[in-house]
Amino acid sequence: MNNMIITLNGEKKEVHDGISITGLLEFLKIQHQRVAVELNMEVVRKDKFDVTAIHEGDSLEVVSFMAGGVDRGPELTIQGSR
């Protein structure tokens, strides 16, 4: 099986040519249930993971729920202390 280069979460990654999204998640040992996937800027529905093939040069985003939001604090302390 030939390999190809894709962009995964902003990084170049070498994977099997024509691998499905399900195959990719298994290869990466990522649990399907809690992730969402975008292929070339389009959200892929979970029920299409099995049948959606990835091709050379494709760009994927694999995201999940993480803590928080914005992590910048205020620069100026007006009241109270840390």
Binding site: K29, R34, V35, A36, V63, G69, V70, G73, P74, G80
Partner: protein, 259 residues
């Protein structure tokens, strides 16, 4: 207070205190603070899965989506396009159709870009998401968001993480009167009296993160916030006395000695 339920888009919320999950020391502290706060709504961000280091623990191992309503946010998005992408991904993750829409306009104030927020909200409502938008304390903006189908609006009290409390209670009052949907004060509260004030004004809920996570003792502050919300809500329902310039005696004047 048994029949004082908050319902948004058919979803019943048990708690009027909603909390974020950022800035805690670790997941154990996050979990404890959330438990102590008595909330049933926690906000989470949508971020890239760490491909390299999969050993990292996942927040959802600590926060059970069966026990808590997960409210994904679009924090960190600076354009309508990014916010739409993020919200659509959040919805496809399959836990909820709720999204807290944030489109930030400036990284120093973290004030929302209202124009972009409205644009993104319009698209996401059409896509069937339940869009709860973070907005400035602007009654006109709140009305526009409601008109395009947002079932609640989330005006800021003050800049995110600032702890300044409600800077413009009069605007919040006007928003409540004109928007006619649940109003959730989001961002900028610092301590229990700030959330009590929000509830006394008649707001339906308060969402906060830094005020708990950044406190010297986050667990104790989580408990303080719980009672701040409860006290403020009860006071609002009870109906406070009007403010007057002069005294009104509490004791009767009849029967005083020496008369």
């Amino acid at each position: 207070m048994t029949d004082d339920r908050l319902i948004i888009a058919g979803i019943e919320f048990q708690s009027r205190l909603w909390v974020g999950t950022g800035k805690y020391k670790d997941f154990a502290e996050t979990k404890k603070a959330i438990e102590v706060s008595g909330t049933d709504v926690v906000t989470v961000s949508v971020r890239r899965v760490n491909i390299i280091d999969k050993s990292k623990e996942n927040l959802l191992d600590y926060i059970d989506p069966k026990k808590y309503k997960i409210l994904p946010n679009t924090a960190g998005c600076y354009t309508a396009k990014d916010a739409i992408r993020t919200a659509m991904l959040a919805a496809e993750a399959g836990i909820t159709k709720l999204v807290k829409l944030e489109v930030i306009g400036d990284d120093r104030t973290l004030f929302p870009d209202n124009e972009a927020t409205l644009e993104a909200a319009r698209v996401l409502v059409k896509e069937g998401l339940i869009v709860l938008p973070y907005t400035s304390d602007d009654p006109i903006m709140a009305k526009k968001l409601v008109d395009i189908g947002c079932p609640a609006v989330m005006p800021l009290a003050a800049p995110i993480g600032s702890g300044l409390g409600i800077r413009n209670p009069y605007n919040i009052r006007i928003i409540m009167e004109t928007a006619k949907v649940p109003i959730i004060v989001d961002a900028g509260v610092g301590t229990a009296s700030d959330v009590a004030l929000a509830m006394e004004l008649g707001c339906d809920a308060v969402l906060l993160n830094t005020a708990i996570a950044g406190a010297k003792d986050p667990i104790a502050m989580a408990e303080a916030m719980k009672y701040g919300v409860l006290g403020g809500r009860l006071a609002y329902k009870a109906g406070r006395i009007p403010k007057k310039l002069y005294a009104t005696a509490s004791s009767p004047l009849e029967g005083m000695i020496g008369n």
